[in-house]
């Protein structure tokens, strides 16, 4: 077979190769969902306007940044952190405390970041030593949220409007909100780190096969610490951006009714899971997470324009998570011996 023939046979069989017997069901559901989505997108007035698309991406930014951080943890095989919104709550309190006491943006940000890094490192050590990530972060979540509320007496902290964090919260560059730009920058950097650096490859290795990682000298302990720190720092950044936008902070900003879709932590986990990152680690990318965040935001926006209440929207996000789990688990069911 000549090279030319080979290449043509590759290109014609591309789609057929992707759709195998096992994942036919998954593909069918995917096609149905996309058709439904496109139909409603066209049928809804004002949905596909430039302004609305900008709004969608902007809404996706905060959850997306946190999702990017969480992707590292998930890829390294440490499931997910249940303390995302609590880390954000503590950071937002630290940041607002700094801002309202006139420490300036840089110092407030550094304070919030260092608290988040400390929290992440602490959880990472416990996880790396062999603690179950879910239980450890559930406990840590209680502590972090408790400390945040206790410190701020559960009150709203305001800081005056002309402050030096406005560029991040409400500022625009060339008509695009800064927060959207930082979301894109975060995604690009994270993708480059995962693909091009040895650290990124180690993340995939430890996630895909922990025993092999251990045998080649990549233990889970340093990996868990690093990934947890990354996730927590992303939480802190999202919290800072949110606080700069609101010019205020409260410990329960991120609890229960953030935005529209229930619990923020679960929403972040949803962005990681919906686009098909393997929750057991080793497979996935930041690109998928970002697309997941945008997709959830787009669906949410669509449902708002169609006049649905919050119940239906929480339900739809829940359905998205469960469906994606079911589809991906079904497709990969035979390929792994133990879930």
């Amino acid at each position: 077979m000549s090279a030319l023939e080979y290449s043509t046979s590759m290109s014609s069989g591309w789609l057929a190769k992707k759709i195998t017997k096992e994942n036919r069901v998954g593909f069918a559901i995917l096609v149905v969902i996309s058709i439904a989505f496109i139909y409603f997108a066209i049928a809804t007035p004002n949905y596909l306007s430039v302004f609305n698309v900008k709004t969608i991406i902007r809404d996706a930014a905060i959850v997306g940044i946190m999702g990017i951080g969480l992707t590292f943890v998930t890829l390294s095989g440490n499931f997910f952190l249940l303390s995302m919104k609590e880390t954000a709550a503590l950071s937002i309190i630290v940041f607002a405390m700094g801002m309202s006491n006139d420490y300036g943006f840089i110092f407030s940000m550094l304070g919030a970041m260092s608290i988040a890094v400390l929290a992440g490192a602490f959880q990472g050590i416990l996880i790396g030593l062999g603690g179950n990530p879910i239980i450890v972060t559930l406990g840590a979540a209680g502590i972090l949220y408790g400390v945040a509320s206790w410190w701020s007496d559960n009150l709203v902290i305001f800081f005056k409007r002309p402050h030096d964090a406005e560029w991040l919260g409400t500022g625009m560059v060339l008509g695009v909100p800064t927060i959207t730009i930082s979301f894109v920058i975060f995604a690009i950097i994270a993708e480059l780190v995962l693909r091009k650096t040895s650290f990124g490859r180690q993340v995939y290795l430890v996630g895909a096969n922990r025993a092999a990682g251990k045998a080649t000298g990549h233990e889970n302990l340093p990996m868990a610490i690093k990934t947890c720190i990354i996730a927590s720092a992303c939480c802190a950044f999202a919290a800072i951006a949110f606080s700069a936008q609101m010019s205020s902070a409260q410990a329960n900003y991120f609890s229960s009714e953030f935005g529209s879709s229930g619990d923020l932590t679960i929403l972040v986990i949803a962005t990681v899971m919906v686009a098909g990152n393997s929750i057991m680690g080793g497979y996935g990318s930041v690109l998928r997470t970002s697309l997941g965040a945008v997709f959830i935001s787009a669906t949410d926006n669509l449902m708002v324009l169609q006049g649905f209440n919050s119940g239906a929207r929480v339900l739809s996000v829940g359905l998205m998570i469960v469906l994606s789990i079911l589809i991906f688990a079904y497709v990969r069911r035979d390929s792994r011996s133990e879930g």
């Binding site: 603690g131 408790g146 679960i266 119940g311 829940g318 792994r336 133990e338």
Partner: protein
Amino acid sequence: MNLIKQKLTELDPDLLFAVILSLCVFSFFAFSNPLFFTLNAGFSIMERFAVLGLVGLALTTLNAGFSIMERFAVLGLVGLALTLCIIAGEIDLSIGSNAALSAVIVVRLTDSMGAFPAIGIGVLCATLIGLAQGYLIAYLKVRAIVLTVGTLMLLRGVALFAADEKTVMLTDFRMTDFIQEKIWIFFSPASLLVILLFITVGVFIKYTKYGREIYAIGGARKEAIASGVNLKRPMMIVFALSGFCAGMGGAIIGLRSGTAQPLALQYLLLAATVAAFIGGVNILGGKGSVIGAAVGVLTVNFLNTGLVYNVTPSYVVQIYLGVLLLIVIVFQTLSILYDKGKQRRLLLHDTALTKQKMIDAYKSVLK
């Protein structure tokens, strides 16, 4: 004497740790708070005793005993549910949502059809949801946390839907007073039911084949499957029981207060996890008991009561719960690491011995 020694060696170290931890919590509050040694102290002392298993001796002040049992009812149910799941080596994150959904259903239906059919429907729904989860987990071979984090959100959406995004309320609050009626001084129908459930489940998982299967798939899943355990059956039993307990807990909370919020009851997961882990379950599965769950639940209750005595705001309770949970986790993790190190040393010791033997044999052959 020998018998005592034997009993001591047979003692479960994790349960022992739980009891010691409980004692630490009690003594902390007892010494930090002067109120404990005033006239009101009867209550606190009794709780201490209650945790030590001397319930009969302790429940001498009537109201205190009643309130202990009332607190025990709800948290006990959820703690039991989570204990069962962790014994099977899985975690059910959707407990809070399931309880909230059940509470909403029960409160909404009570007005039109009376309390008992409403409880029946609510608990049935929760049980069926649990059953479906268990089936899916076993069929798809996914980890429970992966699926239940999805259903956590899904069920909250369903609860919001069922409640029309409002807090639902009874119109006639007297309808559900029976649930707090005193029976035999200490008990209410709710707490009696929970105690009965504890005994039933305890007997079930200890003395029946299906119950032992739960321990088997938790402790050594591959071996259990290889020796012919069908993964679906124990998984469905565990998650159905978990759903049942969560639903029952939600129903009791809803009927007691006469209201139900679709977004409430999130705190249950943390409290129940703390209770289960203090009760001596191991995250690796296959370990833990109903008695342990009861001890854990009483410890958490005690913590809450002690903090109420100290007039602490509710969010500080979370700090204490989190710290308690992390202490238990650190203890467990370190004990697992210690066991691993010991095994490794034994293995190295064995290989060194074997090597020496081989060298000796070789030398003798050479001679």
